[in-house]
Symmetry: D2
Subunit: 349 residues, 4 copies
């Protein structure tokens, strides 16, 4: 098409369309008559496969078009009006949803983070601060913790950490919600010890990301306990988040959860990211964050940045105080190994 197609392309994980298997399935089923609004046979089949994958036979599952609307719908549905949601100050709901959570009337109560992660201790401290303040009726009550797996910085919660966070939340009557926009890339990672079944066991709600993990669009919101949120369908509709042709998500998720495709998609990205990390270190570049998933963060000086930018499309993250720039390589199911190999030539000084 243009320049975009000529460079080595690691700018993000939503730059291509859908995994070819999904496109094929969409084409194949295109002319079938399907019920609307997610009541079609493909959506139902996808739900059933996800229930199995999550070992959550009673789970309620809904398909939405995107992550921000999944977050807004779940948070609005679970919180009472006077409650807020705790999240890392770098969390997607805190920073990059244009105020979607506040639009629904809820405050985001920010927690300190380390490489995008919060701790059970900081959640407990936030709740305790509210509980022990004699004026707490004038303050927003923490009603839910929001975490991402992997985080914005590609880091992972261990099973032990997730267990602890779940425990702290539930002993304080707070809900636990996990944003899995890039969940495929967590699940496929060697460093990961958290399964879908663990997530379903420990969280009150979560979503399995499709948009960044092989689908044209779509996220699967899972409530492991049946009827945890009554009338969630209407809440989706009220948020304008209900797709008339629900089949679009249904067909894609059905395929993603057939024969382990979701896992294989994740694996491709992790292999490529691992190779990029190794290449960078090998060539003397400094990794800015120790992230094991599909996002690779590197700190570049101006010369490195200029040289690389000529050949590689990366994402900008932040300027460091020492003058260097943190850039991101993102891999995905669509990353080509030849591009990773080509990167070696660009990196060699």
């Amino acid at each position: 098409m243009d320049d975009l197609q000529e460079k080595l392309w690691f700018a993000s994980d939503y730059m291509e369309g859908a995994h070819p298997a999904l496109m094929a399935r969409l084409a194949e089923t295109n002319m079938e008559h399907c019920a609307g609004y997610g009541l079609d046979v493909y959506s139902e089949s996808a739900r059933e496969k996800i229930r199995v994958a999550c070992d959550a036979p009673d789970a309620d599952i809904f398909f939405l078009a995107g992550g921000t609307q999944a977050n807004a719908c779940v948070i609005d549905a679970v919180l009472r009006p006077y409650q807020g949601v705790m999240a890392a100050e770098t969390g997607h709901v805190s920073t990059h949803e244009a105020g979607a959570i506040e639009y629904g009337g809820h405050k985001v109560l920010t927690l300190p983070h380390e490489a995008g992660k919060v701790t059970a201790a900081s959640i407990a401290a936030c709740i305790e601060a509210w509980c022990s303040d004699e004026n707490h009726d004038h303050m927003v009550m923490p009603g839910m913790a929001y975490i991402s797996q992997p985080t914005e910085y590609g880091t992972l919660y261990s099973l032990a950490e997730l267990e602890e966070i779940s425990h702290v939340c539930h002993e304080n009557d707070a809900a636990l919600y996990l944003d899995g926009a890039r969940l495929a890339y967590a699940l496929a990672c060697d460093a990961n010890d958290v399964t879908l079944a663990d997530i379903a066991r420990l969280c009150d709600a979560f979503y399995i990301g499709g948009t960044k993990c092989g689908a044209l669009l779509g996220e699967a919101v899972v409530f492991p306990k049946h009827d945890y949120v009554p009338h969630f369908f209407s809440i989706i509709k009220q948020h304008g988040a209900l797709l008339a042709k629900g089949r679009v998500c249904g067909v894609q998720f059905d395929e993603l959860f057939t024969d382990g495709l979701y896992g294989r998609i994740g694996r491709v990205a992790i292999d490529a990211a691992d190779r990029i990390r190794a290449l960078l270190v090998e060539c003397g570049y400094e990794l800015a964050i120790d992230s094991p998933t599909n996002q690779v963060f590197v700190a570049l000086d101006d010369a490195q940045l200029a040289a690389l930018s000529e050949h590689v499309e990366m994402g900008f993250i932040e300027n460091l105080p020492d003058g260097r720039t943190v850039m991101r390589f993102a891999t995905s199911w669509a990353t080509r190994l030849e591009d990773v190999d080509a990167l070696r030539d660009v990196l060699v000084p």
Copy 2:
């Protein structure tokens, strides 16, 4: 798959996937790298083609996933907090959006309707009632009129009517917004004398429906005047209505507005609907509403209903006081002429 595939299928106009040309284009462009969030070349190309089709060279155009979210985003963006939107009591925003408009803080001020249409006079009366009430500062100010073309009942505004409505709105500082969920089926209709350029000239905002008119999903929101709504991108994001892979809409709308496909799609549906109307009348059935577009409304007695339901999938509309039932046949770009012909056999007593 099942039963659904065996019957004659006229239940609605969003039961199939996308028009084959759109599916082909999606497949063809699938592996290209595209910028996210609607900044891709396909979205830009589609916008340019729509500007031409609307004779609105400065129009701001945004692609959203669905009609309810298009309505909510536009109404929230245009109204001030103390304003409400006037709509037919049968309007989609009044009845079938699960309170999405109120969720954004705005009252829907209902107007009487005739076969789904409102009049310039009833809009003027609503505004006048507010203006002349000495307590109007305690009341919701009418700030916008919402109309659909075609309406929920498949009826059309004539150009003269639209001119008059536009005039009444603008001389009273109210905005005019047109919901074009099924716009292809209005534009293609012989009875129609309103062009896209007319709509762009007379309305402050409107959307060109994709979901019900050939796309997998997607609606094109058009603001004919540039910067009529500053920061609409952020408003979309705040509503959770921003697609990461904006290309999905971009590619489809680009195709819909290439070589007049949007018009041809509409024509197929209208031809089928006209044939159904003729068949029904011919066989002695009574049309319940005089609608010239892709929706055919028929009043059935219990025997007729039972007989037809065995072979035909229709949509339920309402029970009449005389005991009969109004059912709807909806045609679309996907309606097969052999199904319409097969209908003849079912209808013959």
Copy 3:
């Protein structure tokens, strides 16, 4: 001060300050130190007296500054986000709160009315329409009925009617909320057979009006069942409806519920209104609505209107199709009998 003080003044029931006994009590307690936010001894004493008056020993009671904010806080607190409130199309929440209910995200589902009253049947029909509509997940679910006692038109629900409405609501899991802005004038009325205890028994929430019934400001929101709405204090604060000097309401309601003052206040107004009604009929005027409480509605031709307006301050209600005008006389605790007597001279043709 001016003209306003010279005319016979029946324009409304909130034109004077507070009943002298309340002013005296405010002055007397003025320099005492009191805890803020309604935690003071006067508020607590008032709550206890109201519990006794309502025969509701476990009731949760909160004092708010005004009726619209009481309505908004209660409705927001009780409804779930996807629910709406049913109300007469003439109800205060439907028409004269500038969209306060929609501002909180809830649709007002309007019901037909007769002289301001709704029926159990129309509530049941509204709920049934939602239940039986196969698309009801796309529609706002009726979650509460809102009624006023007396209504906007001064009319009263009988005990039998209230029992029936309560029954219909509760067997359909809808809440019942009663707006008692002018409750003193219902309770004191001969035609009334509904006690505070009946209201507490039959409603899930209601408020006892202060502003229009003797107080400078203030309404007492009563939830007969303890903890029916958890954290209502925070909801009040979130709506900006929490008074720092809660004593202002506490002292006044404590006085209103001492030695039956609230009842006596109502009686004064009813006696005056009854006398006005008799005078009007006697002098050949036509009452426009058959209302037994403190609001008297009269239909005037132009000559009558002009003549009366010279001497009497009334409230405008509406223009009738026959050219006449409906005007309102409102009496209150502050109405002077000499003014009512003086009215006789003005009315005599």
Copy 4:
């Protein structure tokens, strides 16, 4: 009444009723007929006096019952839906309004503070961070700065600081709003060099506090430029913040701005606070914050805290890392000099 009346009472500045002059005026005007909703002659007179005091002849002025609702109404009215309000992380809107700002759909963008104050530089940095972020359309746009005079910690902005803040806001198209809940205590302070006219010149909106400065209730919201916020009356009503008997605020503010009473009220509190500060220092206590207004913050060890608490009612602020506790003495128009003197006996070791 009880214990509360026996201790030396410095717990807060809203523990008594109204200044006696205001009570007298309320009593005196009690039986006059007044128009409702702030359209009465007292409200109009008060508005005119405030315009004079602010040297803002065209100012629009509205009386509301409390500070949180004033903040919520102004912020909602001035911001566009996609904008947020910048405030110190200790600001009232950030912490102690139970999420009232988020309830209206707006994010509070927190700024670092020093003793409750923000700087022009931190406001500029917040705006610049938004402007320079290439993803800023996904982020909440800073549309207004919120400051308090005095701050939550009793500190003051100097005229130079306010000029600079105003300049930074306006050159970036952000509004400046000043919360004057305790404004009387700023204006009366020797250290203060900011007049009401300065505030009116430099801010787009502010409120003059009544509740904490001599009134039973009431805050005067001032928009120095006429029609800066069209239809603010309706916005007040929509927030449930409109008092039917607007006279209650009107009469009180009319009195507060007659013969310099607002200034004298402030002076009494400042004199008492200065004396307390001197006493504390004299007796070897350590002031925790260098605040020149009516709030005195002292760091107490456990023995001091226990001893003082026996005789004095103070407000709790926070626990220090070194084990000490910060407590607050608040003075007001109602503080009695004999109580301050009695404090000396309690403080002497």
